[in-house]
């Protein structure tokens, strides 16, 4: 425990410390969660490096919320294991909840309470509650301090939920679709506060979303899941640097043997051919790949390397999975 704390404090103090790599805020090994006979989470394994803003992506019903509920100890796993801040999510779920701030998808706050009443309620549940911090965020968001929760707008409720989640001085924030239903301005304000107030302190932020554009802006790591299985988990910059589409136009139709040769190159993930044009999805050292292709004895009319943004990447991966079946 003291080790985890030490790491997050060091990150907060020293500006130039790259937080990726070393410690894990979340570690998931072969996690399985079933609803009846259906596997909502099906052998999931990945880790969330401490100090990152980690975007957890997947289509609706892919198991994101179930994974989050398991991490918080709300749902026992049917197989595998998970640690949050070094604590086991099953046997140490109280410790997990004491160190983690959580904002749920629906932010189910009690509508009949006023903000101060809700704060008092949360304080009674959290051993490290800091009302000053909560008041500061409430002020920052300009929330009406005496209002009943039920009368707040959706955006205000999200802001209140975040303020409350930060009241326990968490080392890790877990947010389930935190900006769903917010208008663009409210979303921007919410994300901006996350960055400037939470991430800049060196706290880890793990948030699920299906808004790729939003994840692309704020996240430095991403994981994509589909049908309860991991599709990819990587640093976003690294993904963008290593995943490209290479478009080739040949002078003549390539023989099948050459197509097979291209397909067998280690950098080629998938290949699609239409007449004289060949489209490769490449992974790894794309320069090496294009050099190799240019030394082949088939005349090229054109070779073009295209960068992929997160949406392109997401769709490429989803396509590939569909092809698999």
């Amino acid at each position: 425990m003291s080790e985890e704390k030490g790491i997050s404090m060091a990150t907060a103090k020293k500006e130039s410390l790259p937080a990726h790599g070393q410690a894990a805020a979340i570690e998931i090994h072969g996690l399985v969660v079933k609803y009846g006979s259906k596997r909502a989470v099906d052998g999931l394994t990945f880790r969330v490096p401490a100090g990152t803003i980690f975007g957890f992506l997947g289509p609706n019903g892919s198991g994101k919320t179930t994974t989050i509920k398991t991490l918080l100890g709300f749902r026992p796993p049917d197989g595998g294991s998970a640690q949050v801040l070094g604590y086991d999510v099953v046997s140490q779920s109280l410790q997990v909840r004491a160190r983690v701030g959580y904002v749920s998808e629906t932010n189910s706050l009690y509508d009949f309470l006023t903000i101060p009443q809700l704060c008092a309620f949360c304080r009674s549940l959290s051993p490290e509650w800091n009302q000053q911090v909560v008041d500061r965020y409430i002020g920052l968001f300009g929330l009406p301090p005496r209002e009943k929760v039920g009368r707040l707008s959706k955006g205000m409720k999200s802001q209140l939920a975040l303020s409350l989640a930060l009241g326990g001085n968490p080392d890790l924030l877990i947010l389930d679709e935190p900006t769903a239903g917010l208008d663009p301005l409210a979303r921007h304000e919410f994300l901006n506060t996350l960055i400037s107030e939470v991430a800049a302190e060196g706290k880890t932020i793990f948030f699920s979303s299906h808004m790729l554009s939003e994840v692309e802006v704020v996240a430095d790591w991403v994981a994509i899941i589909r049908k309860g299985k991991l599709v990819l988990c990587d640093e976003l910059d690294h993904l963008k640097q290593t995943q490209k589409v290479v478009k080739l136009t040949y002078a003549e139709l390539l023989p099948v043997s050459e197509i097979e040769m291209l397909r067998s190159l280690p950098e080629v993930k998938s290949l699609a051919q239409e007449g004289r044009s060949v489209r490769l999805v490449a992974q790894g050292n794309v320069d090496t790949l294009t050099q190799t292709i240019q030394t082949r004895p088939y005349e090229l009319r054109d070779i073009e390397t295209v960068d992929l943004n997160l949406e392109d990447l997401f769709l490429e991966y989803m396509k590939e999975r569909t092809d698999d079946r």
Partner: protein
């Protein structure tokens, strides 16, 4: 935030690469001068709404290039203009080309003495013409 920074997170180019390129460009055109202070990681992350780690990565890369320096209590300072650093890199590259040339000459059976003679001739010829005439 400096108004010359214009990051597009939705591009396929990693954000930290965009930051590095734009700060280098600001140095090239003189918007940034040695001694100037860069925004703090926190300011920039908050202004651009991007992960602080991304800024750290960009600043680390610029520091590795010898262009900026983080100083305790002062912040991040521009230490070199791109001219100096670029020139150094170009000179380095030139000396490497020289090594390749020597190797190629040896492969072609040109003796060290003959190559040396040609080299001295080339230098003499260049400077007899008056060197670079700009």
């Amino acid at each position: 935030m400096p108004n010359w920074l214009d990051v597009n997170p939705r591009s396929g180019v990693p954000i930290y690469v965009q930051l590095v390129e734009q700060i280098k460009h600001a140095l090239e055109v003189g918007i940034l001068q040695p001694g100037d202070q860069l925004p703090t990681m926190r300011q920039l992350a908050s202004e651009l709404t991007i992960a602080p780690n991304t800024i750290v990565k960009a600043y680390d890369e610029l520091a590795n290039l010898g262009l900026i320096e983080s100083r305790q209590g002062v912040g991040t300072i521009v230490v070199a203009n791109l001219d100096g650093t670029l020139r150094k890199q170009q000179q380095e590259a030139l000396f490497q080309r020289l090594q390749v040339l020597v190797r190629d000459a040896s492969l072609l059976g040109i003796s060290a003495e003959a190559l040396n003679e040609r080299f001295i001739d080339a230098i003499a010829h260049f400077y007899q013409q008056g060197g670079l005439q700009l």
